[in-house]
Symmetry: C2
Subunit: 584 residues, 2 copies
């Protein structure tokens, strides 16, 4: 086909210059500045598996099973290259979705199909043997190294189909579900914003509300109820959705539904005192002011306690007063909860009392050597330095004198900082140059050359306060997927030549460097072509030029050239023709 | 917004040169010829309502209610311009869909959103007062001039909402539903291809079949069943869908599902002896041959008698033998049936014994002066010339002599030919020059100058055999919508100066010319970038160049510049990236 040969030519050009996909230069007219955004890779990716071992046909390949095709699972799969693995991917969705654009899908700024890439498109480009199964894993059997799966399509193809998959390594990347905090009525009456289908459903419901409000017999009170859109949760997802909805209503729907446009109301409920808590205060203040100007009713300090089919009840935190709010549509965007299958697995491995699946710094599930968990379904259970303080002291005290000199330390400082990342954060916070300064700083004027265990303990006693869980973002999940794939690619090599820090409680070194998250910044689109961004080094950027930065970063981060073209053309389409209001 | 001003500039350019949208010139490289496709307008459109009467606020406007937003209803609405009407449109779909591209939507060659235009986009451009109601009409009350409507959204906005709408003129353009011929199991187990949602469901189901067939525990027999796609009905829709599905399976899915691609089978069932019966024999033969080459199993002379969830039973017409065919998906594309609400209305007005709602040649429902019906839900009940033969004779016989001379005839020949279009078809078929020749031809050598009633009857006795119902196509519906809108626009004018043919059974003239369908040709896309076309004058064109003609005609026929851009960009996207296989 002539079409294909054109494609082949075009894609060859892109393949020959892969750097094109990684560097987007944006000239922001308003600021007059030049911002270069480059995809920061973890240091490991540089050491891509160079000398791929020739696999002979007889050697049994290790079976890797990946559960989930979100950011973590897909990035892991994309970067897994070592030929010694047989891979099976199990997910109820046969595609990867670029979830940061989900709020745009709710209003048709971007089409749903533009942000998804079929997993099999990714699989077919791989030299590895990869099988994809569209099914849901409903049970993990860590003892027999088996996962139980179920395909449950809603059609007449044959009902439930169950099967099991054996693994040598299991990678759990199933993501999370919306957290309702057990608020009654939420599951039955609210929309969530986790999946592509959720976004499509929200889009249809917005149009439903406008159409229903346009019917002749609707009373004014009922019309106002139907056109009241409530968003619960003032995090980035809730705020972005509120902004998108406001733009959709004022830029597009107001022209098409002129008789009812003045009855539209958007309310954002947040239990805390401010929205966008994880951002800099300047961003929060700007966002709150902009929403006020836009007429979005911001109710902070309000907690939802109950939702019925037409009303939700809130409790005002300050006064304890209960209020009832009639609504047409509620979107629940308050945070994430653990999936039942993961909860079940946690009970099985003795983590039943935890809120979320815990892994070590190498993303291995605590207590399960061959199971890894990453992305929103897991959290890294960082090791406290105080737990290992004796072991660290003994390791440094090579001569077993019971005391350490500064010189004794020099050998292990690097390993300590790598193994316990909280140390570095603590040093930075205290504005200390290095670990030795920390010890000296603690002693004040009475500086000694000899450090005993008590002094050592006392000096480090506050370090563990700096431990922080990573946020449940696409950025974290993708970095974890890349990190783990690189570990898998170098598994054999690292077995022979461990490259990680010293094992303080055992002999030798860890096989790999522990996972380290590199924060590249975060965006908060606020509507009206304005975006706030918090960039590394606590840089804050707000306004129209940041919106253009947002466009270029999101375009460059697309998983394929296909989706990149589609997303960009959707943006252009929206500029030229507005958003579509057909109810399909 | 800057986006909008750009749009305004661009769209102004298009508005200033509307002819741009109507003329597409395609240079077909293969044939070396130049084909110009121009939108043939009915002669009425030239007489667009020029001197719009200034309406004073006091005069009561006539209430026009349009049921349906398909080809007929939307074309009527778009062309209705006279300010003396208040319009209400009632339809369960708040958009117009370009249905000829539905088969393309089933496989993602074109996206569903690219072929729909929100009705309110069309409404907002109109100077008339138009209200749209997203609801279904479930009862027509012709006595009280009222329609009963119901909004039945599947959400928690408040359940069923009922209301009535009063009309002075009612335009029924509700289309048809799929015809199952009461075959058991069809409604429960088959897909139809009438609505946008049907096409989206088919797309998901095709992917479901491929994903399910890829599961590990599926037996070979079961896999072959799941991958067996059956299309019932060898008309243009069924054939086009079979071709699209074949292209999708071989061009895109085969690469993504390499392990199961050889188990895919497509079967086309047709009760008659050939597919594409309404087309020229050359097209039928070409299509059958191409399908055979493509490996599409063509089973003509097979009637489906029963469908269960995994099998369908057919009866081979020639032998009466029953066969059972296991399938994964069935698409039922056999023809159209009457909607229950129209059936109910037909009983009410004494048409209960008819299969489909009958109108006269002016699209008025028989026996209901202020109700019009057009598109797939109605058919024109042509008047037989033999029923009126006495009246015609008497009208021509001005002097009441009981005989006619050829000269007597000359005055009424034009009116006869206009009122009874079958006369012209008969003349053309018999290769006669005009009506006088018909009379002469009948008399053979014994030509007389005087014609009596018996001779007149005998000469015309075979004319009525040429009456033919119009096909249920978008083309007919659109021409009827345009025709009726022009009648409505000239209603007052034509009341004073009737422009239609003589009333043979009464005095005076008909207000309007009767509706006359002008066939512009028909396409049958056959897959692999090949299309067959039957153009006016029985021209037949088959092959790649016809595919390009198809592209240009379908692009030019789009209802708005927005959908035109979207459809064309979808085609380009498909050429470059192939079709998407994500299951959303």
């Amino acid at each position: 086909m002539s079409g294909y040969s054109f494609y082949q030519r075009a894609s060859r050009a892109f393949r020959d210059y892969p750097s094109l996909t990684k560097l987007v230069v944006v000239f922001t007219a308003s600021g007059g500045g030049l911002i270069a955004f480059s995809d920061a890779k973890s240091p490991h990716s540089a050491c891509a598996y160079a000398d791929a071992v020739a696999v002979d046909g007889d050697r049994k390949k290790k079976r890797v099973v990946i559960l989930g095709t979100g950011w973590a699972g897909t990035t892991f799969l994309k970067n897994l290259k070592h030929p010694s693995y047989d891979v099976q991917v199990v997910s109820p969705r046969n595609y990867f979705a670029f979830t940061p654009l989900l709020p745009s899908v709710t209003t048709g700024t971007v089409e749903a199909r533009s942000i998804v890439e079929p997993l099999r498109n990714i699989v077919k480009k791989k030299a590895l043997n990869v099988q994809f199964r569209e099914a849901e894993c409903y049970k993990i059997d860590a003892v027999n190294k088996k996962v139980y799966c179920r395909s449950n399509q809603e059609n007449n193809l044959g009902g439930v189909e169950e099967f099991t998959v054996d693994y040598d390594y299991l990678v759990i990347a199933m993501g999370a579900r919306a957290n309702t905090f057990n608020t009654p009525g939420v599951v039955e009456n609210c929309h969530f914003l986790k999946e592509v289908e959720d976004a499509q459903r929200i889009r249809r419901t917005v149009i439903d509300c406008f159409e229903r409000a346009s019917l002749p017999n609707i009373s004014e009170e009922e019309r106002k109820r139907i056109l009241h859109f409530v968003i619960v949760g003032g995090g980035p997802a809730g705020v972005e959705f509120a902004a998108e909805l406001h733009d959709f209503a004022t830029e597009d729907l107001a022209k098409l539904y002129p008789l009812i446009k003045d009855d539209v109301k958007i309310t954002l409920l947040e239990a805390a005192d401010h929205i966008l808590n994880m951002f800099d205060k300047r961003i929060t203040a700007f966002a709150e002011e902009k929403f006020q100007r836009d007429g979005i009713d911001l109710k902070t300090g309000s907690m939802v306690v109950k939702v019925t089919d037409k009303e939700l009840s809130t409790k005002v935190m300050a006064t304890g007063e209960n209020k009832s709010i009639p609504y047409g549509m509620v979107v629940w965007a308050t945070g994430i909860g653990t999936r039942p299958v993961v909860m079940d697995f946690m009970k099985q491995i003795g983590q039943g009392s935890r809120r979320v699946l815990a892994t070590d710094e190498w993303l291995r599930v605590d207590g399960c050597d061959s199971i890894y968990a990453l992305g929103d379904c897991a959290t890294i259970n960082q090791r406290r330095i105080m737990e290992d303080i004796m072991a660290i002291f003994n390791k440094a005290d090579k001569n077993k004198t019971g005391t350490l000199t500064v010189a004794d330390f020099q050998d292990v400082i690097g390993d300590i900082c790598e193994r316990y990342p909280q140390v570095e954060i603590y040093l930075k916070r205290k504005q200390l140059k290095n670990f030795v300064h920390l010890l000296k700083d603690y002693q004040g004027n009475a500086q000694k050359e000899i450090i005993d265990i008590e002094l050592f303990k006392a000096a480090l006693s506050e370090v563990d306060t700096q431990m922080k869980n990573l946020p449940a973002t696409a950025q974290v999940a993708a970095q974890q997927g890349l990190y783990l794939a690189n570990c898998f690619n170098r598994m054999e090599e690292a077995e022979k030549n461990p490259e990680g820090p010293l094992r303080f409680r055992a002999t030798g070194r860890h096989r790999f460097h522990p996972f380290r998250y590199k924060h590249l910044g975060q965006f908060a689109p606020l509507g009206g072509e304005q975006t706030a961004a918090q960039l590394p080094g606590d840089w804050v950027s707000i306004g129209h030029s940041t919106q253009w930065l947002w466009y270029s970063v999101y375009a460059s981060k697309q998983v394929s050239w296909r989706t990149r073209m589609l997303v960009v053309s959707d943006w252009i389409k929206r500029f030229v023709f507005g958003r579509d209001s057909s109810r399909i």
